[in-house]
Amino acid sequence: MEVEDFSAEALQKRLDMADDSECGAEQALTLRERFRRAMFYQEVAPLPNFEFGYWDRTLAVWRTQGLPDWVTDEAAAYRYFGIENWVVVPVDLGPAPVCEHTVLEETDDRIVYRDTLGVVAQVNKHGDQSIPHFLDFPVKDRATWAPYKAALDPDTPGRYAHVDAALPRLLASGAPIIAPGGSLVGIPRNLIGFEHVAVLPYEDPELFQEIVDTFGHLICTALERVLPRIQVDACMGWEDICFNQGPVVNPRVFAEVAGPWYRRISELLVRHGCCVYTTDTDGNLLPIVETFLDNGLNTLFPVEVHAGTDPVVLRERYGRRVRLWGGVDKMALIAGKDAIDAELQRIRPCVEQGGFLPGVDHRVPADVPLDHYKHYMDRKREWFGVGGEPLY
């Protein structure tokens, strides 16, 4: 069997053949064109200025530090700081709802609810809103999995309901067009629970395989329907399956069960001229990074430094095989301007190699002072030549 070549050179060749006319050197490049050049190690100025956003409380805290009152959401913050963005083809790759969202308990401090997938969770009304505290998970065994398997039917009405209307807007935006890449283990983790999904491959390997296969089938079927209709520049999935101690499932199991699906998806993308494939996974993903790279998932995001996913280490180990979005340690933004400068200088050689869109390695927390964040954005423009016009 012929093995697909996912080297940077091979991908570049495909891109040149697929899209030869778009990157005119004499005209100002669109953000979309700049993105493509950046991700294929070509010279580009300015570099796309992408970021991951902010935790809910951050903008409110910054408004007490001088952020204008009109900056109340992420879109406004992006305008203010001159951050650029991508657009996403609106395909729903999650399970269809299996129940009504129900509030089970509400006090002055917290809300306990059952969401539309049957997960019972608690959120605090005050302080930082990040991952909820999960109290109960609906999938416990093969019997309780059955309704979710049905809810992952690629033909479920509504999955593609917004695609047609969105296509003209996406194409007119001039921004990179991203196909959603779904989830192979992350959503199952949300349905099954961290501790159970971690041991499920040991206790019931057939069920774990079936669950991942179901999600993989949905992703591939959906992409086969959407990719012929619009040229996408990248595909971005979501997993969030790593912690600072590594992945939620054994790396060998991950390679055996999820690896072949990443390969199928990446091959499908390449056949449609999309050569940038990433998935959002926080934490320390070093134990599974080769599963990603070997199967064509060639871009890491958000490259969380303090957890152990260091862009400098990744580039030393994997060179141009690995493309990076993120990779600026948020702890430096908390620490101060000297720490920010040191962190940006530390990763600067990697950014200058190309294939690296530097940004904060997760949402910016509220303990980053606005002054530090502005300094970070200014330095990013000065040293890395990123685009976008700030309003401050």
Binding site: S130, I131, F194, P201, Y202, G246
Partner: protein, 222 residues
Amino acid sequence: MSELLEQIATCIERGKVNAASPYPPDMRGQEGADELVKKAIEQGVPAGDILSQAMIVGMGRIGKKFSNNEVFVPDVLMAAKAMQAGMNHLRPFFDSGEAVHKGTFIIGTVQGDLHDIGKNLVAMVMEGGGFKVIDLGVDVSAEKFAQAVKDNPGASVGLSALLTTTMVNMEKTVKLLKEQAPDTKVVVGGAPLTQEFANKIGADAYSPDPQGALDYLTAAVS
């Protein structure tokens, strides 16, 4: 170590819960920690020996492998399940005093933080390491930690946080605990933490992984 105790240690290290468990595949059909601990008790092996010479040994092996990145979270969880299966047979001996814990360990995530995955892992490893664990859950106030220490004199405390914005609440908790019971050992951990931060807030130790916390407190209480 007797052959039976070594078998128990191996079952716990490798996550062999019971005879019906399909994992690990090369031990399929063999007795697990559940059956072997029961057998050891029936043969008259002292409960304290089963705990200290077999179960804690097995958990210690997997914990060290985890610290060295030789195994991963799922492997620790399977070992903890095997440990739990064996501990179910030992509970009456703890009640009678025939088996004793190394000490009491109080753990929780600090106020404002709802993330309990790391906290739960540490609790499992500490229990597997011979400590009585009192899990206060998530979003625990400094006052609640202090009350738990008052109720359990001599207990050690573990504080966990995932967010940079909540790890600052550790400082308040450490301060209150040290004011109330200066000898209380406080270990802190969580994704955003560093040794430097632990030093700054006056914690006794920082550990990036569960085994580090266990090793520190085992040495501290011995």
